[in-house]
C-alpha cells in the first residue's frame, strides 16, 4: 500500500519532469524531499518517523492534505525508508506529531504557496483572490479561469528548498485537521490487502529460522557470544535441503519451505556451555539495588534533610516496578536480499532505520550507503522491540546462502529475547507540616538502562558484550507538586537484563511513586486527593485538567478509604492520578498530559482485582485526528491496566522463563474495562504527542483505587491475586499459610526379584533354524489375499512398532522401552538380508505363534506373539502374503541389548513355558457372531492387551481379572479398559466405536501417544470390524447406564470441571487460562473441531501424571484422521516449575475426587531427561 513513487531513487525523482518537490538540501548528498506533488494529481508526504500501528500515517496525511487543500484520498505517505524518507532520528516518545511533522507541514504550505503564485500570474489575478479546492485553483469570486496543481506541474521539474519562514494556514480555517478521520490503512488491513513486513515475498526467497542460545534475554557478561560448544549436523542429516549457518553463538537454518526450516530448527542438536547464573529476579528489588550505579542529582532545592526531620507527618517508602514486555502480537520478522553488486536491502518493521543500517554495516563489513532499509508496518511494538535483531538474522543468513531469506522469530524467541521494559526502584522519603503543606520530598530512582545492542553483533562477537549505562531513568523524575524542599536523584546503572525503550519509559514508574505518595499525603492532611493535587500544583493547565477529569467522572470527595463492600467478598474503590509525560533528556519536553479516575473491584478472598471503568481526560493541545487520539488513549488504557494488574517477566537463574502468553498473560476481552476518553479542547495550542501519555498515571490511579476499596496501599507491581492476598492478610495481622511441601513419591515400579529367580531355574532346548528360502515374488499371492493381509496388518498396527520415525514403513529399528532396556523392532519388509525376504511361511508362522525367529533365536515378548498365536491360519497366511508383497527395504536395525536375565535369549524358552499358550482363538458358541469377531480382533491381531494389560516383573501380560487393566508402553500409560478404566464415565459401545474409528470420543477425549498410530491404522478396517471390537470391549464391563444417562453424566462433569477453573489466582490457573483453556475450557463455542473436555479424559484421571506431562511436552502433531484437532508442544515454553504448577492445577480442578499426583516435579524431570530414542 506504499504509494508507488515514479522513480527508483530521490535523485531520479528530482530530475524528472512533472514533479514539484520541497526538499531539505544536504551537503554532499541528494536533497531530502518532504513533500512531492506529481502531474497525476497525487501528493506524497515523506517522514522519517514510522507508524507503529497507532494511526500516525493518517494524522500526517491529514496535515499534508490540509496545508495543500487536497482531498485526503489524493495524499499518501512514505514513512521511514532509508532511501526515501528524511533522516529524522528514531521514532520514540510520541514525537512524530510534535516534532517531525513540523517540516512536513511547512513543506506542504510552501508547495501550495508556490503553485498559487504561479496560478495567479497565469490567470492574471492576485494570489489573495485565489482559493484552492482539492487541487483546483480558481478565483474566489467564481469568475474567470482555473487551473489544477497537476496542470501547473506538467512537464516541469520544480525543486524548492524548504523555507521555514513560509506562512502556515490559520487553524481557524482547518477543514481536515481537527476532524475525526477514518484511518487510511484500515480498509486494507481488514480485508487482508495490506502488506506488513511479514507479508514480503520475493522471488527465490528462502525461509530461515534461528536457534538462540539458552541465555534468553541477557546481553552482557563474558559468556555472550562464547557459549556454543558444538552443533551436531547429523541431527538434521535427514533433511538434505536444509542449510546450516553457524557463526560463534549465532546459529540459523535455511530451507525452501517454512515448515522445513521450522522442523530443522527443532531437530538441530546444539550443545551450549554453562553460563553465569543470573541474580535472583523473582523481585527486582535486590537485583536493581545491588547493581552498581552512579548517582546523578537532578534537583536539590532548600534543605530536604532538615525539612524531613521537622515534618509533622513523614513517610518513607520504596516503590517497585517489574520488568515488562513490549509483547508485540506479531513476533519480529524481516527479509534480506543482496544484489549482484553486493548491496543489501532489508525489509524491516524497525523504528530505528538508520541505527539498523549502521549496525548492519558493522556486522557485515558493508558500507552504510550500500544498505537500504525498506520500512514496512508491523504489529504494534510500543517501543524498540527485536526488529533490528531479526533484520540482522535475515542478512546473515541471506549472505551465507546467497539468496533472499525471510526470518520469522518464534513466539518463545520473541518473549525471551525482545529487549524488556526495565524494572525500576523508587525510594521516596517525604512529609507535610502540621497544616498539611508539602514540605519535603527526597526522591531516588534506580533504572537499569536499556541500550540493547543488536543481538547478532553480540552473538557473532562483532562487539563486546559490555553493559553500558545511559541516563534514561529521569523522565518524570521530578514530582509535579510544589514541595518546599526537594531532592531528586537518578542512579544511572547498566542493564541487569536486555532492555530497551517501552511506552512511558521510566516516566510510568516514577509517576507511580509520585502519584501514590501524594495520595497518602492528602489523606494525612485530611484533604480530598483531587483537591489536594489541585492545590499543590502551580501549572494552571494541569490544575484545569485535574479538575475537569474529576468532574467528568463524577468524583465524590473523600478523606479516607471508602471500603465499600458490594458483595460478601468484593470491595469497590475509586482512585485518581495525574501526569504530564516528559520525554527527552531531563527536565524533558512535555507531551500530552493525562488524568485518570478509575473504578476497581477487589475480591478479598481470591485477591483478584478487576478494573471496571476508567475515565481519562487528556490535554494534547491541538488535535489532528480526534478519533485517532481517542483510540490511542484507549489503547494506552488497556495496555497499562494489563501491565499494572498482571504483567511481570519471570526469570530463572539462566534466562527469561516467560515464553508464551500463558506465562506472561495480558488483559483479555472479558476483562477489558469500560473506557471514557475525553479530549480537552485546545485548538489554538501546538499539538502535543499523544502516543503514550495516557499510560503514565495508570499504576498510581489503580493502586489508589485498591486502597480506597481495601485500606491497603500496594507499592509493588503487578497486582497479582497472590500479592493482593498477601497484602490483605498482612493488614489483618495473620501470616499467609505455608506452602505445603510435597513428599517425594516412592518409585512406582517395584522389582520382583524372587519371581525372576524362580522362572529361570528352567532351561529349555535351543530351537532349530528354519532353512532360508529363495522367495519367488509376490505374484504367487492373489490380490484378494494381499488385500485381506493389508487389513490384518492394519488391525495389528504392524507399522506402528516396526517403523522408526520418518524412515521407511516396516523397516524396523523403532525402540520399545521395557524395564529391561530398549527392544528394537525388526525389519519386516521382504529384504533378504535385513528383513524377512528369506523367510518361508512356516518360519513366519512360527515367529507369530511361538515367538521364535527364523534363525531359531527367541524373540522378546515385546513382540506380542502371545496374542498373534490366536489368529487363524487364513489371517496369518494373508498377512504373510501382504508383507512379502511390499517393497523390500534394506535396513539393518540396532541390536537389542537387554539387562540380565533377558540378555540370555534362550532363557525366553522358560518364559514361554511359563506364560505362553500357543492356541488359536476358539469362538464362544454362546455369544453372537459380532462378539466373537470383536474378541478375535481385540485379543488376536489387535493385541490390545500388549499395551493395556499390566505386565509382571518378567514382562508377561497379566491374565484373568487383571487382563486389560492398564499397562505402560513407551512411558505412556495405556489405561485400563472396562471396569477399571480411570475414566469417570463408563465406556459405552458407542464411545469405544467413536474412539477407535475417529481417535476421539466426546466423552473421553482424544488419543495421544502410541494410540494415535493404532487409530490411524485401524482406519483401514471396515466399520463392521470396529463395531465388533467396540461391542466386545463394552460387553466386558457393562455399565448399566443408557447412552442418554451417560451423556448427561458427562455433561455434568464437564460443567463441574469448568466451574473449577476460576478464580484465576495462581500460576497454574494462569497458565491453563492462557495456554489450555482455548481448547479445554469448553467455552469456545465457535471453534472448529470441538473441545476436548479434560474432566472426562482418562489422562487427567490416571494414577500417574505421565500421560498428561507427555502430551503437554510433545503436543499432538499428527492426529488420527477425523479428530481434526492438533495440540502444539509446550516443551520450549514451560520451565519444569511452570509445568509442575500446570499439571498440579489440572489434576486438582479437572479430575473430580481424585487425589493429588505424587511427585509431579520428579515425573517431569524424569520425562524431560529421557534419552531421545
Amino acid at each position: 500500500m506504499n504509494p508507488s513513487l515514479p522513480a527508483a531513487s530521490p535523485a531520479e525523482l528530482l530530475a524528472r519532469p512533472g514533479v514539484l518537490a520541497v526538499v531539505r538540501p544536504r551537503p554532499d548528498a541528494v536533497a531530502e524531499p518532504f513533500v512531492v506533488l506529481l502531474d497525476d494529481g497525487r501528493a506524497i508526504g515523506l517522514n522519517g518517523h514510522v507508524d507503529l500501528g497507532t494511526g500516525i500515517r493518517t494524522s500526517l496525511t491529514q496535515i499534508v492534505a490540509e496545508e495543500l487543500d487536497l482531498a485526503l484520498s489524493s495524499v499518501s505517505m512514505v514513512l521511514g525508508d532509508t532511501l526515501w524518507a528524511p533522516d529524522q532520528g528514531y521514532t520514540t516518545a510520541s514525537e512524530t506529531i510534535q516534532v517531525t511533522a513540523i517540516p512536513l507541514r511547512r513543506a506542504a504550505a510552501q508547495a501550495r504557496g508556490w503553485l498559487v503564485g504561479k496560478a495567479a500570474s497565469l490567470l492574471g489575478v492576485s494570489a489573495e483572490e485565489l482559493e484552492v479546492l482539492d487541487g483546483t485553483i480558481s478565483p474566489r469570486t467564481g469568475d474567470g479561469g482555473s487551473c489544477t496543481y497537476a496542470e501547473l506541474i506538467a512537464g516541469e521539474t520544480i525543486v524548492l528548498d524548504l523555507d521555514d519562514s513560509f506562512p502556515l494556514k490559520d487553524p481557524a480555517a482547518y477543514s481536515i485537521v481537527g476532524k475525526s478521520t477514518r484511518r487510511v490503512d484500515i480498509p486494507g488491513k481488514v480485508t487482508g490487502q495490506w502488506t506488513f513486513v511479514h507479508d514480503v515475498r520475493l522471488d527465490g526467497m528462502l525461509h530461515g529460522r534461528v536457534i538462540r542460545p539458552p541465555y534468553g534475554g541477557r546481553d552482557s557478561g563474558a559468556f555472550i557470544g562464547r557459549s556454543l560448544l558444538r552443533v551436531d549436523e547429523s541431527s538434521i542429516a535427514h533433511m538434505p535441503d536444509v542449510k546450516l549457518v553457524v557463526i560463534h553463538d549465532f546459529v540459523g537454518v535455511v530451507a525452501a519451505r517454512e515448515e522445513d526450516a521450522e522442523a530443522a530448527a527443532r531437530a538441530l542438536s546444539v550443545v551450549w556451555a554453562d553460563f553465569t547464573p543470573l541474580p535472583d529476579l523473582a523481585s527486582p528489588v535486590e537485583a536493581v539495588r545491588a547493581n552498581p550505579s552512579t548517582p546523578r542529582i537532578l534537583k536539590d532545592t532548600g534543605g530536604v534533610d532538615e525539612a524531613l526531620a521537622s515534618a509533622a507527618f513523614r513517610r518513607s517508602h520504596t516503590y517497585v516496578w517489574p520488568w515488562h514486555m513490549h509483547g508485540s502480537i506479531g513476533p519480529c520478522c524481516s527479509v534480506a536480499a543482496f544484489d549482484a553488486a553486493g548491496s543489501l536491502t532489508v525489509w524491516s518493521g524497525t523504528q530505528t532505520q538508520h541505527m539498523l543500517r549502521n549496525d548492519l554495516a558493522i556486522l557485515l563489513d558493508v558500507a552504510p550507503d550500500n544498505i537500504e532499509i525498506v520500512r514496512l508496518e508491523t504489529a504494534g511494538s510500543y517501543g524498540r522491540s527485536g526488529m533490528d535483531d531479526v533484520g540482522a538474522d535475515a542478512a546473515l543468513l541471506a549472505r551465507a546462502v546467497g539468496a533472499p531469506v525471510r526470518v520469522q522469530l518464534s513466539r518463545d524467541q520473541e518473549h525471551a529475547w525482545e529487549p524488556k521494559g526495565a524494572a525500576q526502584l523508587m525510594d521516596v522519603d517525604g512529609g507535610i507540616d502540621a497544616d498539611g503543606n508539602l514540605v519535603a520530598y527526597d526522591f531516588a530512582t534506580r533504572y537499569p538502562s536499556n541500550m540493547a545492542p543488536m543481538l547478532a553483533l553480540l552473538l557473532t562477537r562483532k562487539v563486546d558484550p559490555v553493559a553500558g549505562s545511559g541516563p534514561i531513568g529521569d523522565r518524570n523524575a521530578e514530582p509535579p507538586y510544589d514541595y518546599e524542599n526537594m531532592r531528586v536523584v537518578c542512579h544511572d546503572q547498566a542493564p541487569v537484563v536486555r532492555a530497551a525503550f517501552l511506552r512511558g519509559v521510566s516516566a510510568m514508574p516514577n509517576a507511580f511513586a509520585h502519584e501514590s505518595f501524594i495520595d497518602e499525603m492528602a489523606e494525612a492532611a485530611g484533604v480530598d486527593p483531587v483537591e489536594y493535587r489541585a492545590r499543590n500544583i502551580s501549572d494552571p493547565r494541569a490544575r484545569d485538567l485535574i479538575r475537569q477529569t474529576a468532574e467528568r467522572a463524577g468524583w465524590v470527595p473523600k478523606i479516607a478509604p471508602g471500603k465499600e463492600m458490594i458483595a460478601p467478598d468484593v470491595a469497590r474503590g475509586r482512585g485518581f492520578a495525574y501526569s504530564t509525560y516528559l520525554h527527552g533528556p531531563f527536565p524533558g519536553k512535555a507531551a500530552a498530559a493525562a488524568a485518570w479516575v478509575v473504578d476497581v473491584e477487589v475480591n478479598k478472598t481470591s485477591g483478584e482485582v478487576a478494573v471496571t471503568k476508567v475515565v481519562v481526560a487528556q490535554d494534547s493541545g491541538m488535535v489532528i485526528n480526534p478519533a485517532g487520539v481517542r483510540h490511542q488513549i484507549e489503547g494506552n488504557v488497556f495496555q497499562s491496566v494489563s501491565r499494572v494488574l498482571m504483567e511481570q517477566v519471570a526469570f530463572n537463574e539462566v534466562a527469561v522463563t516467560s515464553r508464551d502468553w500463558s506465562t506472561y498473560p495480558i488483559l483479555k476481552f472479558p476483562e477489558a474495562p469500560v473506557v471514557e476518553a475525553h479530549l480537552v479542547p485546545r485548538p489554538n495550542d501546538p499539538p502535543l504527542g499523544a502516543g503514550e501519555s495516557a499510560s503514565v498515571p495508570s499504576a498510581a490511579a489503580i493502586v489508589n483505587a485498591v486502597y480506597d476499596a481495601t485500606g491497603v496501599r500496594f507499592r509493588e507491581l503487578p497486582l497479582t491475586p497472590e500479592r493482593v492476598r498477601t497484602g490483605l492478610l498482612e493488614q489483618n495481622g495473620s501470616a499467609p499459610p505455608f506452602a505445603r511441601k510435597m513428599k517425594a513419591g516412592a518409585p512406582w515400579l517395584a522389582a520382583a526379584g524372587g519371581l525372576i529367580a524362580a522362572a529361570f531355574t528352567m532351561l529349555s532346548p535351543i530351537k532349530p533354524a528354519i532353512a532360508p528360502i529363495a522367495f519367488e515374488g509376490a505374484g504367487v499371492f492373489t490380490s484378494e489375499t494381499i488385500e485381506r493381509g493389508r487389513l490384518v496388518a492394519a488391525a495389528g498396527n504392524c507399522v506402528g512398532c516396526h517403523t522408526d520415525g520418518a524412515s521407511a514403513p516396516n523397516a524396523g529399528g523403532h525402540a520399545l522401552r521395557t524395564p529391561f532396556g530398549n527392544v528394537y523392532s525388526t525389519n519386516i519388509t521382504p529384504d533378504v538380508e535385513t528383513g524377512i525376504g528369506a523367510w518361508s511361511y512356516p518360519a513366519f508362522e512360527r515367529a507369530m505363534r511361538q515367538g521364535i525367529s527364523r534363525d531359531g533365536r527367541h524373540l522378546y515378548p515385546a513382540f506380542p506373539y502371545t496374542a498373534f498365536a490366536r489368529m487363524t491360519d487364513g489371517d496369518l497366511q494373508a498377512l504373510y502374503a501382504y508383507l512379502m508383497s511390499q517393497p523390500a527395504v534394506k535396513s539393518k536395525v540396532p541390536e537389542t541389548r537387554l539387562a540380565f536375565p533377558m540378555n540370555v535369549r534362550p532363557l525366553m524358552a522358560g518364559w514361554n513355558a511359563m506364560f505362553h499358550k500357543a492356541e488359536v482363538f476358539t469362538p464362544d458358541p454362546a455369544r453372537s457372531e459380532r462378539w466373537n469377531r470383536g474378541a478375535y480382533l481385540v485379543e488376536g491381531a489387535g493385541h490390545c492387551a500388549a499395551c493395556h494389560s499390566p505386565r509382571n516383573a518378567l514382562g508377561a501380560e497379566a491374565t484373568g481379572a487383571r487382563h486389560l487393566t492398564g499397562g505402560i508402553v513407551d512411558g505412556w500409560d495405556a489405561p485400563a479398559l472396562g471396569a477399571y478404566s480411570p475414566s469417570p464415565i463408563p465406556w459405552t459401545e458407542e464411545a469405544y466405536y467413536q474412539y477407535l474409528r475417529t481417535g476421539a470420543s466426546a466423552q473421553h477425549g482424544a488419543t495421544a501417544g502410541p494410540m494415535l498410530a493404532v487409530v490411524d491404522e485401524l482406519s483401514a478396517l471396515p466399520d463392521g470390524d470396529i463395531r465388533a471390537m467396540a461391542h466386545y470391549l463394552a460387553s466386558r464391563s457393562p455399565s448399566g447406564l443408557s447412552e442418554a444417562a451417560t451423556t448427561r453424566r458427562a455433561d455434568a462433569l464437564t460443567m463441574l470441571g469448568r466451574a473449577q477453573l476460576v478464580p484465576i489466582d495462581n500460576v497454574g490457573a494462569r497458565i491453563f487460562d492462557g495456554a489450555c483453556a482455548v481448547c479445554h475450557a469448553n467455552d469456545n463455542l465457535d471453534m472448529f473441531g470441538g473441545q476436548v473436555s479434560l474432566p472426562l479424559s482418562s489422562t487427567v484421571h490416571s494414577e500417574r501424571p505421565d500421560n498428561l506431562i507427555r502430551t503437554i511436552l510433545n503436543g499432538v502433531h499428527d492426529p488420527a484422521k477425523g479428530t481434526r484437532g492438533a495440540m502444539p508442544s509446550f516443551a520450549r515454553q514451560f520451565s519444569d516449575e511452570q509445568l509442575a504448577e500446570l499439571v498440579t492445577f489440572v489434576r486438582k480442578t479437572q479430575a473430580a475426587g481424585k487425589p493429588a499426583w505424587r511427585d509431579v516435579p520428579g515425573a517431569i524431570r524424569r520425562i524431560r531427561t529421557e534419552r531421545p530414542r
Partner: protein, 165 residues
C-alpha cells in the same frame, strides 16, 4: 508414523487447489506461502492469540497448529474470502467505519471470530461478544472500538442495512 505425501485438495475462499505439500504441513504456512494469502498471521504458533484464525466450515480454527492433512473436503475461508476492498463483508465494513483496530495485526482473528459469533448469535449481548473474543489477544488495546464495531455490524446485518457511514 509414515507421512502421507502427494497432492492435497484444499478448498480455500471457494476455489479448490491441488497442492504438493506434506499432510503434516501447517495450514498457516500453506495459506501464506503456497496460496500467498496475507490475512492469516503468525502470532504464536500455540493456539493462544488468534492471529492465524481462519473459518473452517463456518467455525473458527487456529491455522497455526492444524495440519492440512485432515482438511480435505472442508470449506476454508480467510479474511480475503470474507469480503474485498470494494465489497467488504458487513463486519469488515463496520471495522472500517469505526477505525476499529490499531496496528491491525490481530484484526484478522477478531473479525473472523466476530463473523462466526454473529452466525451463531445474530444479536449478541456485550457479554456474548467479550466471551467470543476471549481467546483473541490484542496488545494495542483496540478492545473498545472492536466492541463498538461488532455491535454496529450486528445491527447492520440484522436490519439488512449497510453500515452507517
Amino acid at each position: 508414523m509414515t507421512p502421507r505425501t502427494g497432492p492435497l485438495r484444499l478448498t480455500v475462499n471457494g476455489a479448490t487447489h491441488q497442492l504438493a505439500v506434506c499432510s503434516g504441513a501447517l495450514l498457516l504456512h500453506v495459506l501464506r506461502n503456497d496460496l500467498q494469502l496475507n490475512g492469516p498471521k503468525y502470532g504464536c504458533g500455540l493456539a493462544q492469540c488468534g492471529a492465524c484464525t481462519v473459518l473452517i466450515d463456518g467455525k473458527t480454527a487456529r491455522s497455526c497448529i492444524l495440519p492440512v492433512g485432515g482438511l480435505e473436503g472442508c470449506e476454508i475461508v480467510t479474511l480475503e474470502g470474507l469480503g474485498t476492498l470494494e465489497q467488504p463483508h458487513p463486519v469488515q465494513a463496520a471495522f472500517i467505519a469505526e477505525s476499529a483496530t490499531q496496528c491491525g495485526y490481530c484484526v484478522n482473528g477478531i473479525i473472523l471470530a466476530a463473523t462466526a459469533l454473529l452466525r451463531r448469535i445474530p444479536d449478541p449481548s456485550d457479554n456474548d461478544i467479550r466471551q467470543a473474543l476471549k481467546y483473541n489477544l490484542c496488545r494495542c488495546g483496540s478492545h473498545n472500538e472492536v466492541l463498538i464495531a461488532i455491535r454496529a455490524a450486528a445491527r447492520a446485518m440484522t436490519s439488512h442495512m449497510p453500515v452507517v457511514e
